[in-house]
Subunit: 430 residues, 2 copies
């Protein structure tokens, strides 16, 4: 064994110990946070918002270090822009925390209550999940959002941000710690993994006694790594291959407005439409103005045979297109033989994220809403409403595409579990 | 490669294909079952109950084959008894299905509904989970219970029973299939893995596109294997290291009745108490009659120093005892310094299953209920109430000891998820 190998081994073991210490501190902080009052959690969030504003200079300074590394590593302009903080973005982070502070506190809510014939009074009561590990990529504001949602829901957070935003995240977490401390809550309620070493993620995923659930937030490869490696439950936000289906009874004006918005409002969000399906009976009438709108807005069209017969400029869609989340100004378009064919297509090629039908026929709408197996199904509205804020949840940590709860937008309330509280007067079981 | 190896490989590949075919059939059946009406699912359950009664002879005959193998393999009398069916147990199975038929159908329930300022109407609606894989051990009645709960909740079931009860389970599933068919629902809604080959479980755990959640029901080694190997979400029923804590303000009569029942009513159930904690202030007063009751009922006592000072016949408890789920007539007993020490002990040594406090002091009760981190917490009632039937759920597939929902008793309602249904009138996102 060389000296170098020995050093490596020690350092690997040291990292493991550091991560375990982080986990133990989180577990202890979680118990305190869960027992604290709603007012105390609200106080911590408001004080964290204030501390973010006060620390503006330090956060900008830390961000400059991250931007310098990004420049040195020749990161793409898009990545660099996501990373960049300015006064406005810092103010938005502080506002986000203040908004989360104003959300109803979910902990302790009685979800159901009933009395058994033997007199036992049973309640199902909302409780925090415990310790949440959040693994995310470049944007530093996720640090504030995720930390805030965890405090609101009484959970301790272990945050593992992208290495590109390490210094920014550290400055943001320092401000949140100040807020926690001023509200007399443990600083360890929100901790940042103190290294950019990728091995730290592996340690997190194996800490099944100290972390209760992992939330990966980022690209497909990150999420797949977490799903494959994790021995912990995962709340995964996989891709959004979202559809809009134009029914034979679609209102043409609504269809036009909804398709353009669903695709082009922002193309990089998970709720952006990626495939447009049209009933054959109305394709010739509906499609031409819609495709003209899209192309006018800079969107590329990839169509099947029937679409290309109507629109000579459309590229030919391949099988792969029906599976693809472009996150770009590209739309796959297909003519289908009615509602049943549309439902089959969406359930087969979609990602169970968000899908919409445009129709004036109630029966068609209800069939689509009922039979499409997605977290969010809409009638006569844009798929871009797939967002915790738009749902009235205040903030979200992502949109869960798994089938088990929490499904759909994950806000503070969705980061909770429940327990059964049973009050008796000496009852024993016969 | 020898001829034998080639045959083995083919057979391994053949099993994988068989399992995939099972999964695909389940996926298709799940979609049909989810869309069926509540009445149709109720009809299938009632017809399955009738078919179980009609098939009594065939089920007893199949059970005789299992009992013969059990005899040949020299299975323990306890195992053999669990396996054994008679007229009464078959009637109980049919009654169980009829009872599940009478439960409210959870599918389609609107859990929450609200309207956004932009006019979007949002509903959170209960939906089935999809395809549930259930892996269990010897008792054949689990086949009927699990199949019934899945039908009630609109899920397709893939059942992998213990090899000892293979023929019995096959005869029971045949009767359930008859019930499904008579209600015009797909037979594949409840399927039994058609082989006792252990490799089949491995295939199930890898079928993450075709199975949505796995429920292991059995001993610790089965559950740990499933948790380690599975790439699927797991609803795990781990052990129940359940506690009763006698507070300084405990009513002595209630304490005596509850401890005896919690430990000795049935010692082999997960809700049986395994550790008794007593406040030092009242130990000398409360313990002697309680320990006399227990010993009179045939229970062995393992105590700490303070307990042994009060009770010379008590064996010495070791550190391991505080961790142990005996499932037997043995109780670990410890004197603690008040409520906080009791809470620390339970949260440290317990398994987050079911724990009870006996006290007449409201503040102590509320502190215990609030701070004990278990699926079920009780005041002044026996831990043996930890049971879906006792909670009014009709039946249960187990008690989930995980922190994420579903937590606690898992009945039909707990085998569901939800989706968001959004109704608009042409809204687009600004």
């Amino acid at each position: 064994m060389t000296a170098l190998e020995a050093a490596g081994e020690r350092s690997g073991e040291k990292l493991r110990e550091e991560m375990l210490a982080l986990g133990r501190a989180a577990r202890e902080a979680a118990a305190t946070l869960a027992r604290a009052s709603a007012e105390q959690r609200t106080d911590a969030l408001n004080r964290a918002a204030a501390a973010i504003r006060t620390a503006r200079g330090a956060i900008l300074e830390a961000n400059r270090r991250d931007l310098q590394s990004a420049h040195d590593k020749q990161l793409s302009p898009a990545m660099t822009d996501r990373l960049m903080l300015d006064d406005q973005r810092i103010e938005a982070m502080a506002n986000g925390l203040a908004e989360v502070a104003s959300l109803p506190d979910p902990v302790g809510t009685v979800l159901a209550a009933w009395t058994r014939p033997n007199g036992l009074k049973i309640e199902r009561v909302r409780v925090p999940l415990g310790v949440i590990g959040i693994i995310y990529e470049s944007r530093p504001n996720v640090t504030a959002d995720a930390g805030g949602l965890c405090i609101r829901s009484g959970n301790a957070a272990i945050l593992r941000g992208g290495s590109e935003s390490f210094h920014s995240s550290r400055a943001i977490v320092a401000a949140i710690e100040t807020g926690l401390e001023r509200a007399k809550l443990p600083r360890a309620a929100v901790q940042l993994v103190p290294t950019t070493d990728r091995a730290a993620v592996g340690h997190m995923l194996a800490m099944n006694d100290l972390i209760d659930v992992v939330v990966p937030r980022g690209g497909r490869s990150l999420i797949e790594r977490v799903q494959t490696e994790s021995r912990l439950p995962v709340i995964a936000h996989l891709e959004g291959v979202c559809h809009v289906y134009l029914d034979h009874a679609a209102d043409p004006a609504k269809a036009r407005k909804i398709v353009l918005n669903a695709k082009m409002r922002r193309t990089g969000v998970c709720g952006a439409a990626e495939t447009l399906l049209v009933d054959r009976a109305v394709a010739a009438k509906l499609l031409p103005p819609i495709l003209a709108d899209l192309r006018g807005a800079g969107c590329e069209i990839r169509g099947d045979e029937a679409v290309r017969a109507l629109d000579r400029d459309a590229k030919a869609a391949t099988e792969q297109d029906w599976h693809t989340e472009y996150l770009d100004a590209i739309l796959a378009v297909k003519v289908v033989d009615g509602l049943d064919a549309a439902i089959r297509h969406v359930n087969h090629y979609g990602s169970h994220h968000t899908d919409a039908i445009v129709t004036e026929e109630k029966a068609a709408a209800e069939k689509f809403l009922n039979e499409i197996d997605s977290a969010i199904v809409l009638v006569n509205a844009s798929t871009q409403f797939a967002d915790g804020g738009e749902f009235g949840m205040g903030a979200e940590i992502g949109i869960s595409t798994g089938r088990l709860p929490p499904r759909g937008p994950v806000g503070a309330e969705q980061l909770t579990s429940f327990k059964y509280v049973v009050r008796g007067d000496g009852q024993v079981r016969p």
